[in-house]
């Protein structure tokens, strides 16, 4: 590609960061020095352009090393990868984790999202603002970091050479700890999640029990029995069990998993790809993080089974950028699995080939949308694609692709262990199995809970210790920012796909944020509105402009005195909501008005 670069040269550190991923350039044409071979020969074209999927890993390397992405660094990456700089700039500027202005090496991201807000995040941010200036220099307000069981939460990043670079989750974080970190202190290692739930757990049974860094520990707990079973059953057998289990996807859309697997398995176009969607970014959601941190081998094993069933030789696990520990554990588990012959060219000596590459998100909620996620893996802006074609027809790199959420996949281990029919006997007739719920907010014991589908919301909240003494319930946000509010009178809703649908709500990602009478619902709604305004990819008009107009209208509704004006704005909100729901490209836009609409329009919790 004829690439024009007009910025300054990259620094030695920037070159080292890029070369750390790509190796040293082989010719002057890729940004290296001139060799005699270069006088008469150059390679490029399709091979050079096919490196595009390496753009995000390279950008991460630059960001990790330098703390920001300079023009010189980006242009060097472009030269190496044969990507036009304006395209690459469009990509860098899309993702929240990449900085385009020079920044200090240290960045403290403080979550001020719904659950953390209820745990004092706003006071913490105000104090930091007083001491260290506004957000955006050394400390940054952040959307949900997926640590809602331990709110308020923070993430510390320190740029530097790989040996010195740091990335830590700190939760809960105190003002003192935040100040110490910003003054150069090193955060202490955090206690890791334990399952606190009493009673039977299935998906969570190894969490806190096995050593997440030991494949032997995993095997001792029954690990890799399901893979053995899968190899016996073969593709058709596995898909039959999964179909009989009536497993529905846990990512939010509740699509029948067996049907999806079958469609990919039967797709004639090759190769097939497998993608594990671990870009868990829905505010209030942390279930996949816990599974990856505490039971990473289960995720790897489940992916391997899915790959065998659907004929994939290459899998990707796309993990959200704010989950450093989960990433580390998964990468470690993949390495161990490879070393033990559970991944690679000949799995378990059965002649099956499969391997997994971990891809790291970069601060874009939208990348949890499956087609946006494909674009992100491909090194592009995380803009969702129009469907059809569906991923099973044309997904990653335009090929048939199986995308499953982490929790969905881990369910498959039990399905193969006990058989599809036994699995289907748990839960309700239409929603089989158990479900992970991320209970946060104002309950006594926030945490991750596993209950059979159909358990009532009331029982779930009780399981989490119920409300604190003398507090009454204001509302529960079910399904995260893309979900909807339910109130006291709806607490007996069975937590199943059909049960929540009946009251116009959704299980969504399994987020359950409980707000008691001390919660500032108006601030929560404004936070949700800001979240969607920030996270809209900007591609389609209903969502790009609609999320802004929604926030503006909401602000007016919350501040206007005159009732008639407030009523007009509620009507406007309703109009915007309908267009976003009907005409947006993807699920983000289609649900961006859901929670706010349920609070303002349906439940009238705030407003005129």
């Amino acid at each position: 590609m004829d690439i024009r670069t007009t910025g300054g040269p990259p620094t030695a550190d920037e070159i080292a960061a890029v070369d750390g991923i790509l190796g040293s350039p082989e010719s002057i044409w890729e940004g290296g020095g001139r060799s005699t071979q270069d006088d008469h020969l150059a390679r490029g074209g399709h091979a050079a352009r096919s490196q595009r999927p390496l753009l995000l890993p390279v950008l991460h390397a630059i960001q990790d090393r330098m703390g920001w992405v300079s023009r010189g660094a980006l242009e060097y990456a472009c030269r190496r990868l044969s990507i036009p700089p304006a395209e690459a700039y469009g990509v860098v500027s899309f993702y929240g984790r990449f900085a385009l202005d020079e920044r200090p090496e240290l960045a403290l991201h403080v979550c001020d999202d719904i659950a953390c807000k209820g745990a004092g995040a706003d006071d913490l941010c105000s104090a930091l603002e007083k001491a260290f200036g506004p957000s955006g220099k050394t400390w940054h307000r952040s959307a949900c970091l997926g640590l809602c069981d331990r709110s308020p939460a923070a993430l510390v990043e320190r740029a530097g050479v790989p040996e010195e670079r740091e990335e830590h989750q700190v939760a809960p974080i105190t003002l003192e700890a935040a100040q110490a970190i910003l003054r150069g202190g090193r955060p202490e290692d955090q206690p890791r999640p334990q399952v606190v739930q009493r009673g039977t757990v299935r998906l969570l049974r190894r969490v806190g029990v096995v050593d997440p860094e030991s494949i032997d520990s995993y095997r001792k707990a029954g690990g890799y029995a399901a893979l053995r079973r899968a190899l016996e059953l073969g593709s058709e057998g596995v898909i039959r069990e999964v179909t009989e289990a009536k497993l529905l996807g846990r990512g939010g859309a509740a699509f029948p998993t067996g049907r999806k697997w079958d469609a990919v398995a039967k797709a004639t176009v090759r190769p097939h790809y497998l993608v594990c969607n671990a870009d868990e970014s829905e505010p209030g959601t942390f279930k996949d993080r816990v599974l990856m941190e505490a039971d990473p081998f289960a995720v790897v094993e489940a992916m391997t089974i899915a790959a065998i069933a659907t004929g994939c030789e290459q899998g990707y696990l796309y993990v959200r950028g704010e989950y450093p520990l989960a990433r580390e554990r998964i990468e470690h588990a993949i390495g161990e699995a490879r070393a033990h012959g559970f991944l690679g060219a000949d799995i378990e000596g059965a002649g099956t080939r499969f391997d997994i590459e971990v891809r790291r998100g970069a601060g874009a909620y939208i990348c949890g949308e499956e087609t946006a996620l494909f674009n992100s893996i491909e090194g592009k802006r995380g803009e969702p694609r129009n469907k059809p074609p569906f991923p099973v027809q044309a997904g990653l790199f335009g090929k048939p692709t199986l995308v499953n959420n982490v929790e969905t996949l881990v369910n498959v281990l039990d399905i193969l262990g006990e058989g599809g029919a036994a699995f289907a006997s748990i839960g309700t007739a239409d929603s089989t199995g158990t479900r992970l719920f991320c209970v946060s907010g104002q309950v006594r014991v926030p945490g991750l809970y596993e209950v059979p589908m159909g358990t009532t919301l009331r029982a779930l909240i009780e399981l989490a210790g119920g409300l604190r003494e003398d507090r009454t319930l204001r509302a529960v946000l079910l399904g995260g920012a893309a979900g909807s509010f339910v109130t006291e009178s709806q607490l007996d809703v069975p937590l199943s796909f059909e049960g929540t649908r009946a009251i116009g709500a959704t299980l969504g990602s399994g987020a359950v944020i409980v707000l008691d009478d001390t919660a500032d619902l108006e601030q929560v709604l404004l936070r949700i509105a800001r979240f969607f305004r920030d996270e809209s990819c900007g591609q389609c008009v209903p969502c790009r402009v609609g999320t802004v107009r929604q926030e503006e209208a909401l602000k007016r509704i919350l501040s206007q005195r005159e009732t008639s004006l407030r009523e007009a704005d509620v009507a406007l909100l309703s109009d915007i909501a309908q267009a976003m729901r009907d005409a947006s490209i993807c699920g983000l836009g289609q649900t961006a008005a859901s929670a706010i609409g349920s609070a303002v329009i349906q439940l009238k919790l705030v407003g005129p």
Binding site: D2, I3, H40, L41, A42
Partner: protein, 542 residues
């Protein structure tokens, strides 16, 4: 090619082929919209090979760039052919049925093993082999070229070497295959179509064929006109040198600037007894003329047709009134005829075209009405029901072949005339830039943000060894003359290779350096290969 001179393929075929070899062409800059078609092909999966001494913008798109030494094209092509034959990739069935002269050709290329080609071209033998195999194996493959092939003293041989490759692999006369010279000016093809070449009448009909000559003569009321081949441009200058050619009528050309060895060209033009120049500008050539006939611009102030590089005859139309005093070419010619005693009246462009159609079978079906409706028609188009021709030479795939077989021509490597020596160690080659055109007469009219002053582009390594800085003015000299010019470092040039354009004769007369060694068959000069030296300027008093 095998008779009619025109690109064999359509642009759209570049979108649906498997392999494109761009040979001696920077189409990215010189034929940008053709390059759009080519890129669509690349996006559809076609491999692109660029053969060019410079790694140009076109080369940057290529899967493989072969940076051969200037003037070593035949060696490269012959070595490819040898590889193709040895690998068993020659299409023997096609060769046997549709070609002639294969034995000679095979014998000739046998003398070009990879080692020899590597020595003569500089390109690693392995890479030559790779390209040969890729071209040999591709189901569909196209070769496209521009002046990098034709501005050499052995231009015709260069072209033949490429034609040989297509014949060898059966890559002509089929959809998605072909041989395509990309024309440098909007009606170079049309000029040839209309007989503005020494031995042809309109429609590439042989001037020296008595029957053809008779056909035209009787259509023109028994007019007498030469029946012998005329001179091509370079021969005309030679004839001026010998005093044989004493007067000239030049229409829309600026040889005082565009000819190689400019000093000589100006001297010869100035020495003519009588020089008439018909042009839309008072060009440097017009300034030497005894009579200047101001003309209307062919593309915006006149009606007529032009032919493009895919043989498409297209309508040009009058959008502007020409400036006072300037006249349409047809009007000037008709008026001239009248004053010479033959009143043709004032025929319209369409009437002239209809006369042409009546005499040139390949244009017969191209009524103005149809050209308007179809957005132009590709020749040949024999009657008004004929849709035009997407690609040529389909007949070569008929069994038995209709008409003559396509001949191989054994051609040998012959390095540039202007040899590199210790005194003149640097190879200067010339070419165009995207935003400018030829001698800049037309492109000088607009302000381009891309335009920089003319400079001698050299490799930074040469700059260092010469002790000159980027931007420093130097003296560049060839065996014919010297110019002062600033240097500009260009990392895409290898040491020993320099580049200039002909766009800015008022800033730098590049053609003072170029050589007029000329291909005897086509009359093209070797603009692409001069030997120069570069000297630091001695500051006054030093």
């Amino acid at each position: 090619m095998f008779g009619a001179g025109g690109g064999t393929s359509s642009y759209r075929e570049a979108e649906e082929t498997d392999l494109i070899i761009l040979w001696g062409s920077n189409a990215r800059e010189t034929h940008p919209i053709f390059f759009h078609h080519l890129l669509r092909g690349v996006r559809n999966g076609a491999r692109l090979i660029a053969v060019d001494p410079r790694r140009t913008g076109s080369g940057e798109w290529a899967d493989l760039w072969l940076g051969l030494d200037v003037g070593s094209d035949i060696s490269l092509a012959n070595a490819m052919a040898r590889e193709i034959i040895h690998e068993g990739l020659a299409n023997q069935e096609f060769i046997g049925r549709a070609t002639s002269g294969y034995e000679d050709y095979a014998r000739c290329v046998e003398a070009y093993p990879l080692e020899r080609a590597e020595r003569e071209t500089g390109v690693p033998g392995e890479a030559i082999k790779e390209v040969a195999h890729a071209y040999g194996r591709a189901d569909r493959g196209m070769i496209c070229w521009t002046l990098g092939i034709t501005e050499h003293h052995n231009a015709t041989d260069n072209v033949l070497a490429l034609i040989n490759l297509a014949l060898l692999t059966g890559k002509v006369g089929r959809y998605g295959c072909g041989l395509n010279p990309l024309r440098g000016q909007n009606n170079v093809q049309g000029g040839g179509d209309m007989g503005a070449i020494p031995a042809r009448l309109p429609g590439f009909q042989d001037l020296q064929d008595p029957a053809i000559h008779q056909k035209f003569s009787s259509a023109w009321g028994g007019a007498k006109f030469p029946d012998k081949k005329g001179y091509h441009l370079s021969e005309m200058f030679e004839a001026m040198e010998h005093g044989e050619l004493k007067s000239a009528y030049i229409v829309g050309e600026n040889p005082a600037r565009s000819e190689a060895d400019q000093t000589r060209a100006v001297r010869l033009l100035s020495g003519l007894d009588h020089l008439v120049v018909q042009d839309i500008f008072l060009t440097q050539t017009a300034e030497l003329a005894h009579i200047v006939l101001p003309a209307a611009a062919g593309w915006a102030e006149s009606e007529g047709t032009v032919t493009n590089s895919e043989r498409r005859v297209q309508r040009v139309r009058r959008a502007l009134q020409p400036p006072a005093g300037a006249r349409d070419d047809i009007e000037i010619i008709s008026e001239l005829a009248r004053r010479l005693g033959s009143d043709w009246g004032r025929p319209s462009a369409e009437a002239v075209w209809d006369e042409c159609r009546s005499l040139s079978p390949m244009h017969a079906g191209m009524a103005y009405r149809r050209l308007d409706e179809l957005g132009g028609i590709q020749w040949p188009c024999y009657d008004e029901d004929h849709p035009g021709t997407l690609f040529l030479h389909e007949r070569l795939w008929q069994d038995p072949v209709e008409g003559p077989r396509a001949p191989f021509h054994a051609v040998e490597h012959d390095p540039p005339v202007d040899q590199l020596t210790e005194e003149f160690p640097i190879r200067l080659t010339t070419g165009r830039r995207l935003d400018s055109f030829n001698t800049g007469v037309q492109t000088g009219g607009y302000t381009s943000p891309l335009r920089t002053r003319e400079a001698l582009l050299i490799s930074p390594a040469d700059g260092a060894s010469l002790g000159v800085l980027d931007g420093e003015r130097v003296r560049a000299s060839s065996r014919r003359g010297s110019v002062e010019v600033p240097v500009r470092f260009d990392a895409s040039l290898r040491p020993g290779l320099a580049f200039m354009t002909l766009h800015f004769p008022d800033q730098v007369s590049t053609n003072i350096l170029t050589i007029d060694a000329t291909d005897p068959k086509s009359g093209t000069a070797e603009f692409k290969a001069s030997a120069i030296r570069i000297d630091k300027l001695v500051t006054a008093g030093a």
